[in-house]
Symmetry: C2
Subunit: 663 residues, 2 copies
């Protein structure tokens, strides 16, 4: 089918009209980007994107990511016009209003066809890299018949300036993700004004330097756009298409300026734009012929699905493929057998090592996992269970050498999890969650099953000193909604933490793991995964509780030592292992009260900021409780010296407990 501007132009103008009208109605939003990229998006949907509006969950659909998420009216327009059930026109009328799925930025949990939540710049593109990785991996596992799709991302100048862009394209170039195509909305405008206010970069040369194929087009010439996309599809490398566009195209007096970026155009300008575009339909009305053309865009995909389903059913792989795409775990309880083996033969090891042992059990049984590390493989102990590297030559591999790209790694993992079919986990030091925090937040917001293996979780890492010693990180991650933080105390709890993390279908997890060796505290087989309660009584007091000591991770054995010493002085103390405050908060009142104890003094011990512990230690008798921790930066020295210096030892803590009891 040849390019027919007479057909395409009104289709593109429908996007422009919806975008400017919705932003005007909301009196809030970003018309410039959707109007500028309307022509490119129309060609993409009409002639290239493989999708079926009736089947947004089709596993082999092309993925479309609007990395420049502020231009959300572009994707809402595209989804509505091409015939998805949602958003309806009513949804679009309620753009940015309470309850509308047409939120200010596209949210994957509000609209099924929104592949990922975007808005924090650069991350959409970086998630697209992860989607393209998942696609190639599943292709290698299940074959061309079942998995053979592309990932398209629309990115703006902002996405390309963010640091994560460098990490994402570096990874994509190295992995030669040829089925990833980035459409750059090259309008040379940012919020503050022309891009030359802040950058002088030759972006195309930078992408080429990173192993990408680069092609340019006039973003308002349908044939030229089509040619560029064809070239990109034909090239074996990942492609950047430099789409030269005019921001706010169609708004006669404002187009090409930052005035169109983030504010309604105003009634007068909209009227002038209607004139300019020859668009005489009322707001939120799409003429039938134009709508019919839009509705035809999904036909290619609709036809493809039939053939694809036949292939799936004949492949002999349908059950396993469907299980993986549904995100279900295989049956079996291997983890319980593994825990039994630990109980039988206790080990004194670092929990990062215990994590490696757990992974050695998990990875051979669960083909869904794709592990990796941001250049700390030997320190994070993430390569286990015989995983082979995932490389440009071997996409069947399941271990990613992410390089020194923490943010890029986290965003790629989000993309993989959202693509489906894989469960990504990746490691760095806990302190460097700071580098990846923007993506960790999107894991949580997007309800993505991503597992962060964060080792070296306290001053217990020793000599590397304060730049490498997390202090505020546990608190800062616990404060984040919908994120599980799990800090296991020994090898058994580490296995339990892995089991919990893998089962979180709608929630990411951070495993905070020690560098240093820790004694095994759990030496009896329990009936259940005790860590799944968040906190539990590791050792009950002998007699009525006078003290309840609550600790996590590497300080739990210190808590037990404190309890021993208190017992020697005739004071009965219980010890609670608090693996996850979030899971504990989810337990019922009775359970929590039983665990924490109603009477006496509560003491928390954690080699980290005490911020937030008051929630668990305040009682009527001792409203401030006693919070043992570290409300300052650490220092460089061997770990035992640091625990002593900072008073995270039974020697230092027991007298404080006694003083508090006396007071």
């Amino acid at each position: 089918m040849s390019i027919d501007p007479a057909r395409l132009q009104p289709m593109a103008n429908a996007i422009r009209a919806l975008s400017m009208d919705a932003v005007q109605a909301a009196n809030s939003g970003h018309p410039g980007m959707p109007m500028g990229m309307a022509d490119v998006a129309t060609v993409l949907f009409d002639r290239h994107l493989k999708f079926d509006p009736a089947r947004p969950d089709w596993a082999d659909r092309d993925r479309f990511v609007l990395s420049a998420g502020h231009g959300s009216m572009l994707i809402y327009s595209l989804l509505h016009l091409s015939g998805y059930a949602r958003p309806t026109m009513e949804d679009i009328r309620n753009f940015r209003q309470l309850g509308s799925p047409c939120a200010g930025h596209p949210e994957n949990f509000l609209l099924e066809a929104v592949e990922c939540t975007t808005g924090p710049l650069g991350q959409g593109l970086a998630m697209a890299v992860g989607m393209a990785m998942a696609e190639r991996h599943l292709n290698a596992v299940f074959g061309d018949d079942l998995v053979d799709h592309r990932t398209y991302a629309i990115a703006g100048d902002g996405c390309l300036m963010e640091g994560i862009n460098h990490e994402a394209i570096g990874l994509a170039g190295h992995l030669n993700l040829g089925r990833l195509i980035v459409l750059w909305d090259d309008n040379a405008i940012t919020i503050d004004g022309p891009t030359d206010l802040s950058t002088s970069e030759n972006i195309k040369a930078r992408y080429e330097a990173t192993g990408w194929h680069v092609v340019s087009c006039d973003g308002h010439d349908f044939a030229d756009i089509d040619r560029a996309i064809e070239e990109a599809k034909a090239d074996p490398r990942p492609s950047l298409i430099d789409c030269k566009t005019v921001i706010g195209k169609g708004a006669p007096s404002k187009q090409g300026t930052s005035a169109t970026h983030g504010a309604p155009l105003g009634e007068d300008e909209i009227a002038a734009a209607r004139e300019e575009l020859g668009w005489d339909a009322e707001p939120f009305v799409i003429p039938d012929d134009i709508l019919a053309n839009w509705r035809s865009t999904g036909e290619r995909g609709h036809e493809a699905i039939g053939a694809w389903e036949t292939r799936l059913n004949e492949s002999g792989q349908a059950d396993e493929f469907n299980r993986r795409m549904a995100g279900e775990l295989p049956h079996g309880d291997a983890m319980r057998e593994y825990v039994a083996s630990l109980i039988a033969n206790p080990v004194k090891i670092a929990t990062r090592k215990a994590s490696e042992m757990a992974l050695a059990e998990i990875n051979p049984r669960l083909p869904d996992t794709i592990g990796g590390s941001a250049d700390l493989t030997g320190s994070n102990n993430t390569k286990a269970g015989g995983l082979e590297p995932f490389t440009a030559d071997n996409y069947a591999g399941r271990y990613v050498y992410y390089g020194i790209r923490e943010f890029g790694m986290a965003a790629a993992m989000n993309g993989m999890a959202l693509h489906g079919g894989v469960i990504p986990y990746g490691g760095t030091f806990l302190v460097f969650t700071d580098y990846a925090r923007g993506a960790i937040r999107l894991s949580a917001l997007q309800q993505a099953r991503v597992i962060y293996v964060m080792t070296h979780d306290s001053i217990g890492l020793g000599e590397d000193g304060p730049t490498h010693q997390p202090i505020e990180h546990l608190a800062s991650l616990r404060a984040m909604p919908n994120l599980l933080v799990l800090r296991p105390a020994d090898a058994v709890e580490t296995a339990e933490a892995w089991e919990i993390a893998l089962k979180q279908e709608g929630r990411p997890s951070v495993l905070a793991l020690s560098r240093q060796g820790l004694p095994q505290l759990r030496t009896e087989m329990a009936d259940e995964n005790l860590s799944a309660r968040g906190g539990y009584v590791l050792r009950e007091a002998d007699g009525d509780r006078q003290v309840t000591i609550i600790a996590s991770g590497s300080e739990t054995h210190v808590a037990l030592e404190c309890a021993d010493r208190l017992a020697d002085k005739g004071i009965s103390a219980a010890v609670v292992s608090m693996v996850s405050t979030e899971l504990f908060d989810e337990q019922d009142d009775d359970y929590r009260a039983r665990v924490l104890g109603e009477g006496g003094l509560r003491v928390s011990i954690e080699a980290a900021s005490t911020f937030g512990w008051e929630r668990y230690i305040a009682t009527s008798e001792y409203p401030r409780g006693l919070a043992i921790g570290l409300d300052r930066f650490g220092a460089s020295a061997p770990a035992p010296d640091l625990f002593e210096k900072f008073g995270i030892t039974a020697d230092a803590i027991v007298p404080q407990i006694l003083d508090t009891l006396k007071a």
Copy 2:
């Protein structure tokens, strides 16, 4: 003076010997990088760097940044050998031990000649960009006679892979910071192995695409190193010197491999290296002739200081120059007059707007400030008081268009603050502290006076939705040591917050500011800056307190409304404005008890995570207090709808207070 390898080689080998011996003694550390870059560093210090070991505080010294901070023995060796008072050889013997200033990574607060703390990769280079910016600015203000120095940074492959590298070099290229020279330790090795495990990038082409001058050298050929540095100095652009090196150079069986990166070489390999290098001195002993050559390296700088001091004294600018470099504020109390004007004419405005008004007072009076924004100038309201843009053509300007580079901006501000002579402030949305968090932490650790202007500080930003609405950010920043978080409630508190932030010589501040308009709550002139106490009684209860409502920022007026309604029901409630929990925690027990009230129920109100508020609301009578907040992600809608939806209104809160009192 011509290049004399016979002189330089033993000097470089002294670095190698100290590095391998210190790491071995500590049984911890990174010998590979110092051994690989010993030759380059020797040429730099011997022939180029302008410094005087007797005067580490000399304002016009060249700045030297070891961005690859794990190679800390390189800088400790250089400083000791060239004759700085610290580190002593005893300090080096105690490398990585408690109390030694030779910490695992270089810390600016432990050694005067360490310009900045490095270790978190990429940030040293990005801080070097800030230092080079400060240098050019002060040069433009004070002239070539007083300010005329270079900034050198040694960066590794890790620094160049991190996303912040992209942001930093983009900024430096755009600003054409020709006096910045980056020495890239191109050893093609990372922790996980050869760099080609994870990257295929043409780094030189990437730097060239960003406006940099690039030159290469053999990092073990003294003449070639010298040639490359000369070329870099001669070029008007910022320069990257690709130093081809062998990691662990001199360790015969391990050099060139990741085995030398992060572990002691072992006694046998060290013995073999001594043989290879012809180094027969005992550990921690430097032969006199070699030491004498090292001690001569500071002579150039020492001579230059005399002439420079003469110029300074004759410049007529000495007092102002010295004031600025000492980081002292000018005398005067203009802020008090400004507050008086607000009291006289109350305003209902967003605190971001109030911040702009405060800046309009500050910037004309305080020439030290350099403002900016990561492409949100009009939203952050950071450009005020007539600041002109800081550009390649006008380094005298004081407003930086940082572009969409939050992390790069924050790190550049650290570099500026550490350079001295300027007080940087910069803006983005509070939610995007996540992008800059790694650098905010280094502001805190390095005790740098950097002011973060973080607007759109809650769901009060409205329609942009959950990706843009901070929830956990206040808590996560409060948990960070040595960081002030200030969340003012109105225009008066905003002015006070600015005054507080500017006076923090050893601490960064985050100003959390509203997008939405807020009524002015402070309408009487106080004797002091009330916000400086962190929290204070904004309105005392009528009679004995039954309830104390503690609020911050945009929720403080809601607290007052709640108190009014409680009063209508005969319940006496006081309202505490909690501008900064950190400052409040620093007050004495009596003050805090007086403000929070000893009896009754305490209620906190903040449109954010409740995490951490228990510290202030737990009492014997109500150990859990009542924490009103938002422990979930926000939503996209107009702000009033969101406050209602999430129950942050007097309508929703007062009944909960009544219920709690009854219970």
